[in-house]
Symmetry: C2
Subunit: 331 residues, 2 copies
């Protein structure tokens, strides 16, 4: 296992220490229980937006904490749900008096724990709403999921929802915006290589040198099929076609096109995929009005990419364009 780490059991703690040391202007990090809140939390009169999940997907979610996006993130162990006590403490730390929204990727463990945290928070008088993202068209049910997995749209939902909360909208309205993002977004990913969970010390799966996995999950869980390695044009088509057919996206739609790296794929390849995606969408009369290209929801050092398309309207576009400042986004 080749990683820039010390002891596997210290990976999450030390990465959080690094974030804490690097970004005191943007965030505060608490340890045991582990959570990150924006530096000025709680913001009175503002809905708090909280997300979380297993670590190993950086910069999601901790890198998205900051003005204009998340108020808090709860990082679990690598690929492991955070616990209700983390979530409860983070909820209290960002409670501005008008409720807290949980954005939860659809994984069984995450949902159980977030539901428990919501109950505990309500017991302490904090209003909580929860929105589940489930944008991955690759599989209906999966290793860790009843229903579709929550993947790339989560990044976009956190940005747009954070902007809505920043406008001091009410909890139910902020939750409605988040649900609208999820309803209008679809994703699919692929892997060229496996990743290695530090505790495990060996690759999660084996993928021969001439094969790739289409429809992979962000924890290395199986996708739709293993096939021979193909060109970027063919791979992009294999991801875009099921995404486009599912919503469905139609000629005349305006979309945000998000080409995401899985952690070990360099930017030069993501631009090649974006180039293919732009051609496919142009061919169908779908207009890309916003885009995001980079590694934002990752699977440790996995090589591969995912594509997310989000159908935009004027309101979602304005919220996307609103100012944001968070460690995972800034220069």
């Amino acid at each position: 296992m080749k990683k820039l780490i010390n002891r596997p059991e210290d990976v999450v703690k030390e990465a959080l220490q690094g974030m804490s040391a690097a970004h005191p202007d943007l965030i505060r990090v608490s340890f045991e229980p582990n959570y990150i809140v924006r530096a000025d939390a709680p913001v009175r009169g503002k809905v708090g937006v909280l997300s979380g999940g297993g670590s190993g997907h950086e910069p999601m979610h901790g890198g998205f904490v900051g003005a204009g996006m998340l108020d808090a993130a709860c990082p679990g162990a690598v690929f492991t749900s955070p616990t209700p006590d983390q979530m409860l403490e983070a909820t209290k730390a960002i409670n501005g008096g008008v409720g807290v929204l949980y954005i939860v990727k659809n994984y069984t463990g995450d949902i159980l724990n977030f539901e428990m945290a919501a109950d505990l928070a309500r017991g302490e008088g904090i209003e909580v709403e929860m929105v589940i993202t489930n944008d991955d068209v690759a599989v209906k049910d999966s290793l860790y999921t009843a229903g579709r997995r929550g993947v790339g749209v989560t990044v976009l939902a956190e940005k747009i929802t954070g902007a809505a909360a920043e406008q001091r909208r009410a909890l139910k309205e902020v939750a409605a915006v988040c649900r609208r993002v999820n309803a209008n977004g679809r994703s699919m990913g692929m892997a060229l290589t496996s990743c290695t969970v530090p505790h495990a010390g060996k690759p999660t799966f084996e993928l021969p040198e001439d094969e790739m996995e289409i429809g992979i999950g962000i924890h290395g869980e199986p996708g739709r099929e293993r096939v021979k390695l193909k060109s970027a044009a063919e791979i992009t088509e294999m991801l875009a076609t099921p995404i486009l057919a599912d919503l469905p996206f139609k000629a005349g739609d305006e979309v945000l096109a998000f080409v995401n790296g899985m952690g070990g794929t360099p930017l030069i390849e993501l631009y090649i995929v974006y180039n293919e995606l732009a051609k496919i969408l142009a061919g169908q009369g779908i207009k890309i009005t916003r885009n995001l290209i980079g590694s934002y929801i990752t699977s440790l050092e996995m090589a591969g990419c995912s594509i997310t398309l989000l159908r935009l309207d004027d309101e979602l576009t304005r919220l996307w364009d609103a100012p944001v400042r968070a460690p995972g986004l800034r220069w």
Copy 2:
């Protein structure tokens, strides 16, 4: 070779097409010869800042073109210098009438070609200055270099120099700022894995599963030594110690600490390295007043990292903090 590409010979062209499609608000891309200029080039009365080099180091340099940083970037083939005709055309495209500065990493091919381009541009009446970065303390001479290689400080120099040019300073002053950044910056890198040049189709070098290379160059050229894999704490120490001793950095210095990923290393590991670096510097009484953590000067999909320290003063800090908007930096 597992890459998200089509034909190896089309990698650079198609990545540029992707950038062109994605960022028309920020940049314009020209093909044959290939170069990228900021969308509003030329800016009258402003020194143009131009850089370039082989492709495969993205987002450097093309991702740094935009208001507040580079006016132009010339991408060569992967790990191959751009040609003088590219540089000349880019120079003319950004000529605002008060001269153009070339920022050149110290590699023999790049320097020869940039010098030729400078002569050609001067022949057309454009004043040109050239600053060479050579911040890599790992080796004195190298496979492609007489003297030290130019690496991570180039990223910082392009940002700070771009800010100085934006203030409408004269060419000689802008060049002086750039030289000051180079003089006050030192870097060193390491690799856990090789990268694979698309044309070559196989890894540039072989590195056993339990070894790493210390002092690696950004083209996979050899470093100081191959040693058994060590912990992040030990690796950070092995990089920081020669950097600190070289300038030398001293107690009381204020520095920008830049932890850079080589392309295939995920952010979670870079924060662990940053955490170690912060401890080392604190132990020596050196204060980190700015930082940058992410993959900005890469070597395709190589796993590994580099550390750059830049001694700051008030002026360099102000220029670092100045606004910038470029495709490789923005959300």
